[in-house]
């Protein structure tokens, strides 16, 4: 168990679970958090607690743990005080010695030993079982019912109406722990009342039972009860003589010298009773309290690791963060809407100049033939010719110009530069741009490709340039 190296409490648990509702980090953050604490990777609980502490600042609203814990601590302190006082008064009641009837130690033993042992057995059973069975055992404790009543009080209502943030198993352990603590306080009350009575009063103890119990047998029972402190404090075990003289019927009805002498000895019982209280009602209970505390802690750890989202965070702690993101943001390009501006299907039979952008001369001739058009001058531009060569050809063009382009190749800026020379050439009256499809498709183009050319030409805002669109 990891219980030793974590300082998990109900508060940290509740705060963590509230944090998880709000924030779980992302893989990058969580992994880099874990890498900074590489030594802790073997200890997920500690790592998660650190993580929770680090991110606690994100919880700006009121903490659930605050209301819940204040409820719990109020519950515990009210009941704690109550149990202490009850213990004290039960002690007083048991020890009230009027000077006539002596105090029956069997009653006392019942309260400081038998009842605690029974209740501890019940606690153990509840600890060892789960779910409905454990619930059944818990219902046997009066505390369960008292708390149930208590929870209808106004200040408790609010917490009660919250969805219980704790699992049933954890609630069970917390309940058991509370029982141990309250019982402990009860027993302290009892012990204190005993000591107090012994100091301020002269109590005569006696014993009586309807059972046929000889002093010898009774003494041996008492001796075995006291076996635990026999070695340390032998005087706290009643002797046979003491047992004999304290049997009720022998005590006589009237005060006589012998009885007065005996009364002195009868007081020797208190040590035994005090030790019984200390050992059975207090020490044993204390051990059980420690066990239940451990149980709470262990259950807290389990629940902690079982909270929704925890396994995801642990996985992020343990797996490398792999990213393929670009650190640089992209500026999104505005897309120009397509319109019918500068689009035409009105071709001439003959042009002054025919250019083929990125075509070979032969290919232009072939296309002219297919489209039944003629040109006074035919030039291959773009492709392998140089920019200055193309420049002079564009400057020398005049009147009507036809410009073949490959429809599937989008317009480059190189092409636009060339087209702008034509636009600026005052001799040129009109430029018709004709996007051709592949020869394989008989120069047919995709509408999608022509749209690209249309958009580009429309963007130039020149009234001189037209796109021939014979797509339909």
């Amino acid at each position: 168990m990891q219980t030793k190296n974590s300082n998990l409490s109900i508060k940290t648990y509740l705060d963590f679970s509230q944090l998880l509702e709000l924030y779980r980090g992302d893989h990058e953050q969580n992994r880099s958090f874990a890498l900074k604490r590489e030594k802790l990777l073997q200890n997920p609980l500690k790592l998660l607690l650190d993580w929770s502490n680090l991110n606690q600042f994100r919880l700006t609203e009121e903490l659930n743990s605050k209301s819940y814990l204040s409820y719990l601590s109020r519950l515990s302190s009210i009941f704690g005080l109550l149990f202490f006082i009850i213990g004290f008064f039960v002690g007083l009641g048991l020890l009230s010695y009027s000077g006539e009837a002596p105090v029956n130690i069997i009653y006392y033993l019942l309260i400081v030993m038998v009842v605690p042992l029974l209740s501890m057995t019940l606690s153990l059973l509840s600890m060892l079982t789960h779910g409905g069975v454990a619930d059944f055992f818990n219902h046997l404790f009066p505390l369960h019912w008292i708390e149930k009543l208590f929870s209808t009080l106004p200040f408790a209502k609010r917490v009660d109406s919250l969805d219980s943030p704790l699992s049933a198993e954890l609630s069970k352990w917390i309940f058991i722990e509370r029982i141990q603590l309250l019982s402990l306080l009860f027993s302290f009350g009892l012990l204190i009342s005993l000591l107090l009575m012994v100091v301020v009063k002269d109590i005569a103890f006696g014993w009586s039972t309807t059972l046929q119990l000889s002093p010898e047998v009774f003494q041996s029972i008492l001796a075995s009860i006291g076996i635990l402190w026999e070695g340390v404090l032998p005087s706290a075990i009643p002797s046979l003589e003491l047992v004999e003289i304290s049997q009720h019927f022998r005590l006589g009805r009237r005060v006589d010298p012998q009885m007065i002498q005996n009364a002195d000895k009868l007081g020797a019982w208190w040590k035994f009773l005090a030790m019984t209280t200390i050992v059975y009602a207090i020490c044993f209970r204390f051990i059980l309290w420690l066990i239940s505390k451990y149980g709470v802690k262990r259950q807290l750890e389990r629940d902690f690791l079982a909270l929704e989202g925890v396994q995801g965070i642990l996985r992020e702690f343990n797996t490398s963060f792999i990213s393929t993101k670009a650190p640089k943001q992209e500026i999104h390009l505005e897309i120009v809407e397509d319109s019918i501006e500068q689009v035409s299907d009105n071709m001439y039979k003959s042009y002054n100049t025919i250019f083929g952008w990125n075509f070979l001369k032969d290919e232009i001739v072939l296309a002219n033939d297919a489209k039944e058009i003629r040109g006074l001058a035919i030039f291959a531009v773009g492709g392998s010719s140089s920019f200055s060569e193309d420049e002079s050809k564009a400057e020398n063009a005049k009147e009507s110009v036809l410009l073949f382009v490959k429809s599937w190749e989008p317009p480059t800026m190189d092409f636009i530069d060339f087209l702008e020379i034509l636009i600026e050439n005052r001799e040129v009256h009109e430029v018709q741009l004709y996007p051709l499809g592949t020869v394989g498709r008989y120069y047919d183009s995709d509408a999608k490709d022509i749209a690209i050319w249309r958009r580009k030409i429309q963007g130039l805002k020149s009234k001189k340039v037209w796109v021939i669109d014979d797509a339909e």
Binding site: R315, K328, E330, E409, T412, M413, D414, D417, A451, I452
Partner: protein, 467 residues
């Protein structure tokens, strides 16, 4: 000397509109990169480093296309002739001297990563014929002296790959076909294998990158399965609780409660789908999601049941063999059971749709709780087919996301979903699944081993769909 960092870099370059950004999207699992018909969509170069815990393994650059290749080549040729080993320096000089030149913005953006040591991945569209104008671009790239390869992308329907290969062979040692839209994870890894061969020093890091990406892929699958399993657990055991006033629920109260129940289940499904999309880095998909067939087919519809649910026969076999019947004892007494009973008696009800009357199959109870509070609870869903519908949809969605290329910008296309169920979940797997379904329906916590078995089965199903 060219400066070079310790990790390999690659610049994806080429003519405008040939799918450079698409290739980078698919290789960097980034569906936010702008891809578009408009040439010049990409205007600046952008690096996509593959990082593991902050350490860069390799970096891929998206770049704008060549715009004025001829002018750059003539600028280079006008310089004092240098020996081949110094030509890279001239390209550098071009960048330095023309940085402010507005006409060379694109070329500088595209050449910059290369002169900084990036290998060249030259992209062409091999569904269109080759042309001499490409030679200018390839010539410039050759001047940089950087290791290079070419990728044939097929954007259209035609295939001019042979022509292209003959031409590209003069400039590039490696020529590979890669279709970013359809590329599978395997294709991606194979492309990386080729890139590893470009330079001796790069082989190891790229091999490492392949290993990392394979691990990542595996992790995503596992993570998806975990997400599906926990979502199934949540949905199948969910109950909706409503406070009611009277002694018993009115018709309206019951109807509202049922609706709320359905809403929550649908919400769980949506959340889980978003989680899956996040795992597979399909973050921009929600825009397209309305067109996702899965949403058209409502979770509670008959269509969904007939595609993803089990047939009557399968259902009966599964129910009987996994002991579902035992757990159903109570249900048979309720409305929902009668449907199931009817089908048991033997095909009295025709068609799978009839098995999916969702209306009567909720467990609806009124609980008289402490201090006079009365509660109406709806759920868990008692319909035996429901878990299979839910799981079927989840697996199908996850597999589509896992296979989807990040270059895809279209709506999700669900092809032959009709053959879905029988394909990946056989009767043996169903038996294992049913064991957990029974528990969840009864709101019992399944044993850890059964959950593990369930998880393994879901994993097997998903792997089956991924092929």
């Amino acid at each position: 000397m060219m400066q070079s960092s310790s990790y390999p870099k690659f610049a994806v370059v080429g003519h405008p509109n040939k799918g450079k950004s698409s290739i980078v999207s698919s290789m960097a699992y980034d569906d936010s990169i702008q891809i578009g018909d408009t040439p010049g969509t990409t205007q600046v170069n952008r690096g996509f480093p593959l990082k593991v815990d902050g350490e860069i393994i390799y970096e891929l650059f998206d770049t704008p296309g060549f715009q004025r290749a001829r002018r750059i080549l003539s600028w280079l040729k006008e310089q004092e002739p240098v020996s081949a080993d110094k030509r890279g320096d001239l390209v550098k000089k071009f960048i330095v001297e023309n940085r402010e030149h507005p006409k060379f913005k694109d070329e500088i953006e595209l050449l910059e990563p290369i002169v900084n040591g990036a290998g060249i991945i030259y992209v062409v569209d091999a569904s269109k014929p080759y042309g001499v104008e490409y030679e200018t671009e390839m010539e410039i790239l050759r001047w940089t002296g950087q290791p290079s390869m070419a990728i044939l992308n097929l954007i259209g329907d035609e295939d001019y790959r042979d022509q292209w290969k003959r031409a590209l062979g003069h400039y590039f040692r490696l020529v590979r076909t890669f279709n970013p839209i359809e590329a599978t994870f395997r294709d991606h890894m194979e492309l990386l294998e080729s890139m590893a061969q470009l330079k001796e020093e790069w082989t190891k890091p790229i091999q490492k990158a392949i290993g990392i990406l394979e691990t990542l892929h595996q992790q995503k699958i596992e993570h998806s399965v975990d997400t599906i399993v926990s979502s199934m657990q949540k949905s199948l055991s969910y109950i909706y609780v409503a406070k009611i006033k009277g002694d018993s629920a009115t018709k309206l109260e019951e109807k509202t409660a049922k609706l709320e129940y359905q809403k929550q289940i649908v919400k769980y499904e949506r959340e889980h789908k978003q989680e899956i999309e996040k795992i597979w880095n399909h973050r921009s998909i929600d825009k397209a999601e309305d067109a996702l067939l899965l949403d058209d087919i409502g979770l509670f519809s008959k269509e969904s049941a007939s595609i993803f649910g089990l047939s009557q026969k399968e259902l009966i076999i599964t129910g009987a063999s996994a002991g579902a019947l035992g757990g159903l004892g109570i249900d048979l007494a309720f409305g929902g059971g009668t449907l199931f009973l009817a089908s048991l008696i033997g095909g009295a009800v025709g068609g799978v749709g009839a098995m999916v009357g969702f209306d009567n199959i909720y467990d609806v109870k009124v609980l008289g709780q402490s201090f006079g509070k009365r509660e109406l609870t709806v759920g868990p869903m008692k319909n035996l087919n429901f878990p299979y519908i839910l799981l079927g949809r989840a697996l199908y969605h996850a597999s589509v996301m896992a296979k989807r290329s990040h270059a895809q910008r279209d709506f999700v296309n669900l092809g032959d979903e009709n053959s879905y169920t029988g394909q990946v979940i056989d009767s043996d797997m169903r038996k294992k699944l049913e064991r957990v379904h029974v528990k969840l329906r009864a709101r019992n916590v399944p044993k850890d081993e059964s959950i593990k078995e369930y998880r393994d089965t879901v994993l097997k199903g998903l792997l089956g769909l991924l092929g």
